[in-house]
Each structure stands twice: as C-alpha cells, then as structure tokens.
C-alpha cells in the first residue's frame, strides 16, 4: 500500500542501476510531445548557456516541458547550473542558445534568502507586490492579510523582517510571491538555509499551498530527500556542462512525509545516480 509510485525515465541510455523495491517503468519517448501545445506551462527548447564568449558551458542543450499545475524539482550538485536555468526561466538571465516559453507570461520567483525589504513590515512587503501588480490601494491591505493568513502569519503582519525567524521570513516571501498572482512559481533553494524542523514544516506548508492555489512550481534544490518529498517530477542534472540526466515521475496518490519509506527508497535511488554523475568529474 505505497502512497507513491515512481516512474523513471532515463534521459541518457537507460542503463542506470536500479535498487530493488520501486516499480520503475522506463519511457524512452521524448517528454510530453503528445498534446504539448494544449497543456504546456513552461517549454524549454535547445537551451544552452555560457558566460562570456569563451567561458565554460554551464547549460548544454536543455529540453524540458512542464505542464500546468505540475510540481517539478530540479536536482543537482553544486555548479550544475540549476539556479542558472531557473534564472533564465525567470527572465533574469538570457540564454546563449535556445528558447524558453512561459505560457502565462512572467513568473513569480522566490530565493534562498527571503530578500524581504527590511524597511517594510511583513504586510507592507506583500502589499508592495500587490501595488506593483496594479491592485488598487483600497484592496491591498485586505489581500495582503489573506495571503499572510494562507501561510499562518496573519498575526505577524505588522512585524518587520528582523523580528521574524528565518522560517517566518520565507513564509512572508512565499506570500509575496503568491501576491504576484502568476501561474508559475519558481523557487531557488528556498528552504536551504533553514533548520530541519522548520524545513519539514515548510514542506507541508508548500504542499498545501500548491494544492490550494494550483500553481506550477519549479523547485531547485541540492537536497535529494527534499526533492523526493515534494516533487511530482524530479529532474536530475549533471554538472559541467549541466544536462538533464534522469527523470523520475512520482504518482502522488496520498500525503507524503520526509520520513515515509517510499521517499527514503526513492532518495537512495536518486542519490546513487547523483553520485554516479559526481564521480564522472573525478580526474
């Protein structure tokens, strides 16, 4: 009675060593070509990135299609270009080659540091996002409080960022990105700087917010368990140059927890692949 069933798609040659205990089906067809035009939130085609003309290739021929409402985790070791890929999707950096199409236009972004404006209260930080979105003045306060309530922070509305804990700041940042009201939410290691207890709670929080708001989420992390805990799809990236190596689809038919045996099993499998990728860089 597993709550999670996993489908692995090997992006390279399908010769990964798989541990026992997880039902895996390999699918060699390119990702979601069928009906891609109807149901695509983000499409990345032939994307490459190098910094400077003679610089190293950071991202190499990335092809990726993400459906509306999907929760996708981009996983990789340091220097695999996962944050760069996210920044390119966000429009903060430009690709050297290839195209990125976000169907709903611009996307909301959340960073590792909450990057709240320190001179504004929690509520004002959210209100600023509403203001820049064009929400009329009279409606901003109410909407900001609703968003803060969504992340259980209505009581902290008048506190300034320095009065909040790291986890609370990230929740305000989450509320602020939701205030942008964009269908796509890009998250760059948003919980990496938090302690394990807080992170565990925020996983549950994010999962609930995702279910309630139906956002398309691209979540960058170097934490295998986090990816296995949260994602519907986990994309494993290789480093130097960054390529998408493997993909796991996790059928979500029940609540997951970071302690769940299914999550552990998947984590072990993903970790083995990740180590394989890291070994390639030796010598």
């Amino acid at each position: 009675m597993s709550a999670v069933s996993v489908t692995e798609r090997d992006r390279t040659d399908g010769s990964g060593n798989r541990p026992q205990g997880i039902s895996v089906s390999t699918n060699t067809a390119p990702a979601a070509v069928v009906a891609a035009d109807v149901e695509t939130a983000i499409r990345v085609e032939g994307l490459s990135k190098r910094f400077g003309k003679a610089g190293p290739v950071v991202l190499d021929n990335i092809n990726l299609t993400i459906k509306p409402g999907e929760f996708v985790c981009l996983l990789g070791a340091s220097g695999c270009g996962k944050s760069t890929l996210l920044n390119i999707i966000a429009g903060l950096e430009h690709p050297s080659e290839g195209t990125v199409t976000v169907a709903s236009g611009k996307s909301a972004v959340m960073f590792q540091e909450s990057a709240l404006f320190p001179w504004l209260t929690a509520s004002r930080n959210v209100e600023l996002a509403l203001k820049l979105r064009g929400v009329p003045r009279g409606r901003r306060r109410g909407e900001a409080l609703e968003l803060l309530d969504l992340v259980n922070l209505a009581d902290a509305a008048n506190k300034r960022p320095h009065e909040l804990s790291g986890g609370m700041r990230q929740r305000v940042a989450l509320a602020r990105s939701l205030a942008q009201d964009r269908k796509v939410l890009l998250m760059d290691e948003p919980f990496a700087a938090l302690d394990a207890i807080t992170r565990d709670l925020l996983h549950e929080e994010l999962e609930r917010v995702w279910h309630e708001t139906g956002r398309t989420i691209v979540f960058v992390t170097h934490n295998v368990r986090e990816a296995a805990r949260l994602g519907q799809r986990v994309l494993l990236m290789s480093s130097r140059p960054g390529r998408i190596r493997n993909e796991w689809r996790i059928e979500d038919n029940g609540p997951r927890r970071i302690e769940s045996p299914e999550v552990s099993r998947l984590s072990i499998e993903i970790t083995n692949h990740l180590r394989e990728e890291i070994r390639r860089n030796a010598a």
Partner: protein, 314 residues
C-alpha cells in the same frame, strides 16, 4: 531477547502500520498550532527600555562628564591662579555669555547663523540628492565625476572664501557658495555609498515583482540606501556648519549679517578672550543640539526599524 526491550526493537515490518497512521493528514488546525508553536520558539520579544533607563544610559554620562570638566577647569583657576586675561575661568565665560545675551547680540548671531546654515544645508540636499542618484546609477558619469567629487570633499571649503569674495563680494551669496561647496559632495557621496551597499538581491526582487525604472528608484533603491544617505546628510550638515563659521570669520562687513563667526572675530579684535571662548562654546552647543534633536532620533528610528540598531549592553 527480553520482552521489555521488544518495544524498542524496530524492524521495517513492525513500522508499517505506524507509518501508515502517522502519515495521515494533520488537520489544518493542528498544523496551525504546530507552526505557531515553532514561531513562538524561534522569536523572542524585544524588550523596550523605559524612559528612565534611556535617560540614565544616554543623557547622564555626557552631562556628568561635562560637569566634571567644568569643575576641573574651575579647580585649576583657583589653585594655579593664571593671568585672567589669558586664562579666564568658567565664571568669566558665563558672565560673558549673559552679557552677550542681554545686549541681544547672541540671539541675533545664533538666529542669523542657524538660518543661513539651515538654508544652505537644504539647498545642498536639493542639489546633492539628485546628483548622488545620478552618480550611483550612471556609471560613465561616476567614472568621470567621482574622483573630482571625492577631491572636493577633501578640499577644505574655506579655501573657496577668497575666490567667493572676489566673485560675489561681501554678500550672502559668498557664504552660501562656501557652504554648498562643503556640503554637496558629502551628501552626494553618502548617497552613492548607500546605493552601493544595497544587497543585489533586493534589486532582483524589484525586477521580479515587475518594477519599472522609476518604481525601482523610488520604492527600492532610495529606501534601501537610506542608512548611507542619512550618514551623508549628517556629514553634510557638519560640513555646512563648519564652512559657515569659516566664511563668517573671514568675510565680515558688506551686506553679510552678524553671525556667530562674526561675533567670534569681533571678540578677537577686542582681545576679549572670555567672549571668544563663550562664542566657541555656543557654536559647539548649536552643533550638538542639531545632532541630538534632528539626526540622532532619525538615525535611531531608521536603524531600529531595520533591526540594525544595537543598544549598548545587549
């Protein structure tokens, strides 16, 4: 295996039912209390100091030191009995201040100097702020003008007095010119430093939130640069006040009114050392007063709101 340790023996099979029940959804209310509990654990309420404590910490030490210095001065006069025309005692200086007050000279001088310093400072703010923003955001201009502005900040603005007298004669324009040359570079450089210290992440958030150039400047860059800007304003005021005194000492007469600098110069010409010392003390006192009444509270408020203000002893 003893029966009492059985409960501690964990096998994957034995965990299966527990794990299933444990992974049941915690209700929304449960989660709320859980999160509220963690929030309470991770934040500690700030303890505000009471008014008496603030007075004892902030006002008492300098006042006590000042009284001690005056006492030491008086003690020296009584013990060493120096020539009264070269070393007047605190009482002589106090008499001089009351004399100046009763003739009305002191009030005129303070009002004249303070209003000139204030107006000059406000003009300097009006020029220095846009200049600083331009320098901070326009790299080419900064490369071209930056060194010159830093040089002007180092150049004592008194050096401009002779030139200003030749250009503008003995008029208020001379005084204002010297004040501006002193204050504008400080204010502009302070703002540039403030903008440079903005964490790049805040600008990226501005971009992500969809701010245009104007919104970025007014809603993100200016507020974020406030600590550096305020430091620049403080220094700008100090330079204004100093330059003003220098200008008033050198340029006396013409249509230039009677300021504190003029009073200082007049006392020197009369060889009135108590008068000179009295004027110096008044100039010092005005400077301290402006700092305490205007800049210190503004700075404290600004830094406290951002969590940058650490009170001593914490």
């Amino acid at each position: 295996m003893p029966p009492e340790t059985r409960s501690e023996t964990i096998t994957p099979g034995s965990l299966e039912p527990d794990a299933a029940s444990g992974s049941s959804v915690s209700t929304r209310a449960d989660f709320r209390t859980l999160e509220a509990g963690l929030d309470a654990l991770q934040t500690s309420p700030l303890v505000e100091k009471g008014p008496w404590r603030r007075f004892a910490d902030g006002v008492l030490p300098p006042v006590v030191l000042l009284l001690a210095l005056i006492a030491a001065w008086q003690f020296y006069i009584v013990i060493a009995k120096p020539r009264p025309d070269l070393t007047p005692g605190p009482l002589d200086v106090l008499t001089s201040i009351t004399d100046l007050w009763s003739t009305g000279h002191l009030q005129t001088a303070v009002v004249t100097s303070l209003s000139r310093g204030g107006i000059g400072f406000l003009i300097a703010v009006a020029i220095g702020t846009p200049l600083g923003l331009l320098l901070a955001e326009w790299r080419l201009l900064r490369r071209a003008l930056g060194p010159l502005l830093s040089g002007l900040q180092v150049l004592p603005s008194v050096a401009w007095v002779p030139a200003a007298i030749l250009w503008f004669g003995l008029s208020d324009a001379t005084v204002y010119f010297v004040v501006l040359m002193g204050a504008v570079p400080s204010i502009a450089n302070g703002l540039v430093a403030g903008v440079d210290q903005i964490p790049p992440q805040l600008r990226r958030v501005g971009t992500v939130l969809g701010a245009n150039r104007f919104e970025m400047a007014t809603l993100v860059v200016l507020p974020a640069a406030m600590p550096g800007y305020l430091a620049g304003l403080k220094q700008g005021w100090a330079f204004s006040w100093r330059s003003l005194m220098a200008a008033e000492i050198i340029a006396v007469g013409g249509s230039i009114g009677f300021g504190l600098g003029s009073m200082l110069q007049q006392s020197r010409e009369l060889a009135d050392l108590p008068g000179v010392l009295a004027t110096i003390l008044v100039i010092l006192f005005v400077g301290i007063l402006v700092e305490l009444v205007l800049f210190a509270p503004a700075e404290r408020r600004l830094l406290r709101r951002r969590g940058l203000y650490l009170t001593a002893g914490r």
